[in-house]
Every structure is written in structure tokens, then in C-alpha cells.
């Protein structure tokens, strides 16, 4: 693997048992520190691809190279442990990473501070709003300290205002930590807002159907005109792909 490539996927195919092909000949190479959005309609195998990269599942054909540290994963549901406080949830990840007990508390508080939740450290998940829970989950996946962060529709269940803020938060964390991020979404605007590169997957089987690179990513907002025009372009292609299933 070259030093610049974090994830290399070659001729990847996946089928579950004797079922239909879910992913077909997917080729993708992701630079170290790149922010890639995987976009597609339902049934395009986005989550399957993410699970394969995470090592939660094995490919049927082809290969996936990920950096030796592996990948951290963040899900749509925050999946925080309900009996632990925000800080203890982050500490759990540190503990499983092998951080000595004495260092855990301080590091957990620092990580919560990076997602602006230092004041809520002693709160339990049920006392937090959906957006706050996802930020704790983000802090937890940062605590894993893996070079790659995989995100499976992490903001899909949030209201628009909260999601907008979390986009900013995530972008800031990405710039600050230099992690490689693979962000799965079915929201075109979200992909156009966040990614340096947007990869469109077709459905049944999932293939790469289009790719857009965004030159300047600084200062983008969900309402920016360049985000809107890119969204229109991507949506057109996405609809073409969906229509193909009608035939």
C-alpha cells in the first residue's frame, strides 16, 4: 500500500449465502486524510460496504486493504451504554484500547471537550438530546484512535437544525484530527456538504455509478450555492440509477 492510500478496495464482490449479488466489482481507493461520502438509494449495499471495510464481514470476492490500526465505526443510533455516563462511555472505549486507568478520565474529558460536551460529562445518555448522544458517540469513536473513521448514516435520525450543527462539528474534528472518514448517507445534500469526494453507488447490485471531487471544501454550508448545484447534478444521476430498476 502506498503511503498516501488509506483504504484500497479492488474488484470487491459480496453476496450473502445464495442470495443475489449485493456489491459487484467495486473499486475504490481512498487517500489518507480524505473525507469520502458514499451515497446511494436503499438497497445499494452502502452499509454492507461499510461493514466490509470495518472488518465486521468478509468479502465474497476481491480484496480490501485497510491501515493496520483498523477502523472506528459510528452508527445511526448512538448505541451508548445506558448505564454509563457520557464520560464513562468514552472511558470504556479507552479501556478497551488499553489506555491505563489513570489516564482515562483526563483523556475522556478532553475528547468530550472536542465535541463541546465537557459540561455534560456526568450525564447519562437518557438525559442527553439525540444530537448530544451522537456527539458522545463521535467522541467515543475518536477515543478508539484508529486512523480511519467509518460513519453509517450517523445523523439520519436528527432534526435539520441539529444535523446542520453536527456537520460543522464533524468538519472541524476532521480538519483537526486528519482522520480518513468514510461517511455513508442517502442524503444528497449532506454528501455534497461534507465530502471532498462523493461516490455514488447504484442499487442491486451495488456498483460505483459516479464520482464527484470537490475542489475547495472550506467554508461550505448546507445552503451554499455550490452545494446546491452539486446536489442537483448528483440527484439527476441518482434518479437515473433508480429509474433503471423500474425497467
Amino acid at each position: 500500500m502506498s503511503e498516501q492510500t488509506a483504504i484500497r478496495i479492488e474488484h470487491l464482490g459480496k453476496r450473502f449465502g445464495a442470495g443475489p449479488l449485493v456489491l459487484d466489482d467495486v473499486n475504490l481507493s481512498i487517500r489518507t486524510g480524505e473525507f469520502v461520502c458514499l451515497l446511494g438509494a436503499s438497497g445499494c449495499g452502502k452499509s454492507t460496504l461499510l461493514n466490509l471495510i470495518a472488518g465486521l464481514d468478509r468479502p465474497t470476492t476481491g480484496t480490501i486493504d485497510v491501515p493496520p490500526g483498523g477502523a472506528a465505526v459510528m452508527f445511526q443510533e448512538s448505541a451508548l451504554m445506558p448505564w454509563l455516563t457520557a464520560r464513562q462511555n468514552v472511558e470504556l472505549a479507552l479501556r478497551l484500547r488499553g489506555v491505563p486507568r489513570a489516564a482515562r478520565r483526563g483523556e475522556a474529558l478532553e475528547l468530550l471537550d472536542t465535541v463541546n460536551l465537557a459540561d455534560a460529562a456526568e450525564k447519562r445518555p437518557h438525559e442527553l438530546s439525540g444530537g448530544m448522544r451522537q456527539r458522545v458517540a463521535l467522541a467515543r469513536s475518536l477515543a478508539q484512535d484508529r486512523p480511519v473513521l467509518l460513519m453509517d448514516e450517523p445523523f439520519a435520525a436528527l432534526d435539520a437544525i441539529t444535523r446542520d450543527l453536527l456537520h460543522e462539528e464533524l468538519e472541524r474534528v476532521w480538519r483537526r484530527t486528519g482522520r480518513t472518514i468514510v461517511f455513508v448517507t442517502h442524503n444528497v445534500r449532506e454528501a455534497a456538504r461534507l465530502g471532498e469526494r462523493v461516490v455514488l453507488l447504484s442499487s442491486r447490485p451495488g456498483r460505483i455509478a459516479g464520482e464527484w471531487r470537490i475542489g475547495t471544501t472550506e467554508g461550505r454550508r448546507i445552503e451554499s450555492p455550490e452545494v446546491a448545484s452539486l446536489s442537483i447534478e448528483i440527484t439527476e444521476q441518482l434518479r437515473k440509477e433508480i429509474r433503471r430498476n423500474a425497467a
Binding site: 465486521l56 448505564w83 470504556l92 479501556r95 478532553e110 460536551l117 447519562r124 438530546s129 444530537g131 441539529t162
Partner: protein
């Protein structure tokens, strides 16, 4: 490499002190911070734990009022209808019976004997039931084989074991403990199994993603997540222990078996002392309620509140 936490920490500690760090961050970041803080405030309510006074008026006063009314109605009936006191004794007769056996030291002895057996038997049942439940929950073939039998044992009244136990162990404490165990262990095992079954699969997945092996997954994630089911099983296990104990003590009297509440009940019946019988029933009932109120209820309430499973306040 910029993608490790130390780099991440450096950039925030470089500005010496958390507050200073916050103040001197980039203006865009400050903006985001205050925005997020505002939204967080809007989207959460302060957790309102009910005050001591409110708890008193909502959960302590109503049952007391009910019991007082019940006793008053009982006393009134006895005064108006004037039934035979050996068939329908009044509350005062029952109180008299209790104080009489208190003076004779029999209540204290019986309560001490029964409580000791009940608690010890329950603890043994926990020690047996917990590893058994864990084993059955984690080893699927074993559960398929033994699960139905354990569930069946939970339905079987444990008093049915008394004759067999007397034949095996004679009139000894072993008989009593055997019956208590047969009553309590299935409840504890079933509680733990259902608790573990109800652990959201998502939590296990997170555990795997965070890098937990099977042992740490069980210890750090599955067991704590299964705690509500386990506590429910323990609570039921205690109820079954106490019931089984009373049944065993009523049937198995004599030999080296000490004088428990069940024995006291049986003795009062032989003397046709209905006041004494009712008094003993009340003592048995009171101990059951006391253990529930003093031990299980606070344990359960605390656990549920921590997990946000008690409804009041919290996040929207």
C-alpha cells in the same frame, strides 16, 4: 501522524487551561460552541428527581391510609356484628396474641430463625442460579436442552418437593434449604437468561467494534446491560424463597428443625388459636413487605432511574 489523540489533545492544551483554551479558540469555533450550547439547553430538561416530601405523599401515605381504614372497618364489624371471638377475632385480639408471644420470646425466635434461613437460602440460590443462568444464556445447545425444564420447575410449586426432601434428608435444616433452592433457583436463572436475551444486539456490535473479546464483552457490556432482567429475577427468587420456606416450615415440624414462623403458624393451628394464626400471618406478610421496601425497591428504582427507564423529566 496527525490522526492520533495526542495531537488532538496537544492542540487544545496548547492554550493552557480548559477555559483559556475555549476563549482563545478560533472565532468560528466559539460561534459553534455557543450555538451548540444553546441548542443543547433547548433540547434537554433538567432531571427532576421527586422530592422527599412528594415521595412521602405519593408512595408512603396512600398504603398507610388504606391499612388504617381496613383495620378500622374490621374493628367496626366485630363491634357491631359481635361474632364468636374464636372464629372471627378482632384486631385487638390479634395484637394481643402478638404481644403475648413477644413476651414469651417466641416471635423473636421464629422471626430470627426464618429470616436467617430465608436469607441464607436465597444467597445460596443466587450463588447457584447466577453461573447457571450465565451458562445457559451463552451456550445455546445447553439452553435448548435445559431451558424448558427450568421454566417448568418455575411453575412447579416447590412445596411439592417437601415430602421427597423429608425422605431424603429427614427433619433437618437440609430439607428446608433444599425446598428453598428448588423454589428460588429457577426464577433467578430465568431472570438472568431473559435479561441477557433482551440486550440490544447493537450494544454487542459496539463492543466488538471497540475491540472487546468474548470475556470483556460479557463482563463490561452484556452483564451490565442484562441487569434489569437479573434484578427482576432476584426479586422473584426472593419471593419464591420466602414462600417455599414457609411451606416447608409448616409441613416439616420437629426433628432438628428449629422453630420458625411456619412452625409457629402450625403450632397456633393445633391450639385452635385463630388470633395467634392471624398474628403470625401478619408477621410473615410484614417481613415480606419490609424486605421488598428496604432492599429490592430502592435497588430497582436506582437502577431504572440511572438508565432513564423511570418516567419523569430527562431529554425530549
Amino acid at each position: 501522524m496527525p490522526h492520533d489523540t495526542t495531537a488532538l489533545l496537544d492542540s487544545s492544551t496548547a492554550t493552557a487551561g480548559a477555559d483559556a483554551g475555549r476563549a482563545s479558540a478560533t472565532p468560528g469555533h466559539d460561534d459553534l460552541r455557543s450555538l451548540e450550547a444553546g441548542l443543547d439547553r433547548l433540547q434537554t430538561d433538567p432531571d427532576r428527581a421527586p422530592g422527599a416530601w412528594r415521595r412521602l405523599t405519593t408512595s408512603v401515605v396512600p398504603p398507610i391510609v388504606f391499612v388504617v381504614a381496613l383495620v378500622a372497618a374490621w374493628q367496626l364489624t366485630v363491634m357491631i356484628a359481635q361474632p364468636r371471638p374464636d372464629i372471627v377475632p378482632g384486631p385487638l385480639d390479634v395484637v394481643g396474641a402478638i404481644s403475648q408471644s413477644w413476651e414469651a420470646g417466641r416471635v423473636q425466635l421464629a422471626v430470627a430463625t426464618s429470616l436467617e434461613r430465608g436469607v441464607l437460602g436465597f444467597l445460596i440460590a443466587v450463588a447457584v442460579g447466577t453461573p447457571l443462568g450465565l451458562l445457559l444464556a451463552e451456550v445455546r445447545p445447553l439452553r435448548r436442552a435445559m431451558g424448558p425444564i427450568i421454566s417448568g420447575l418455575q411453575v412447579l410449586p416447590s412445596v411439592a418437593w417437601v415430602p421427597a426432601a423429608i425422605i431424603w434428608f429427614g427433619l433437618t435444616d437440609a430439607t428446608v434449604y433444599f425446598v428453598v433452592l428448588m423454589g428460588a433457583v429457577p426464577s433467578i436463572v430465568n431472570g438472568l437468561i431473559s435479561g441477557i436475551e433482551q440486550v440490544p444486539p447493537q450494544l454487542r456490535r459496539v463492543g466488538t467494534v471497540l475491540g472487546a473479546g468474548p470475556a470483556r464483552l460479557a463482563l463490561l457490556i452484556v452483564l451490565p446491560a442484562a441487569l434489569p432482567g437479573y434484578v427482576a429475577g432476584l426479586k422473584q427468587g426472593w419471593a419464591f424463597s420466602w414462600r417455599s420456606l414457609m411451606a416447608a416450615e409448616i409441613i416439616a415440624v420437629g426433628g432438628t428443625i428449629g422453630f420458625g414462623l411456619g412452625s409457629m403458624l402450625q403450632q397456633s393451628r393445633e391450639l385452635a388459636d385463630l388470633g395467634g394464626v392471624l398474628a403470625t400471618i401478619l408477621v410473615i406478610l410484614a417481613i415480606g413487605i419490609l424486605i421488598e421496601l428496604a432492599f429490592f425497591a430502592p435497588l430497582e428504582r436506582r437502577m431504572l432511574r440511572r438508565r432513564g427507564l423511570l418516567v419523569h423529566g430527562g431529554a425530549r
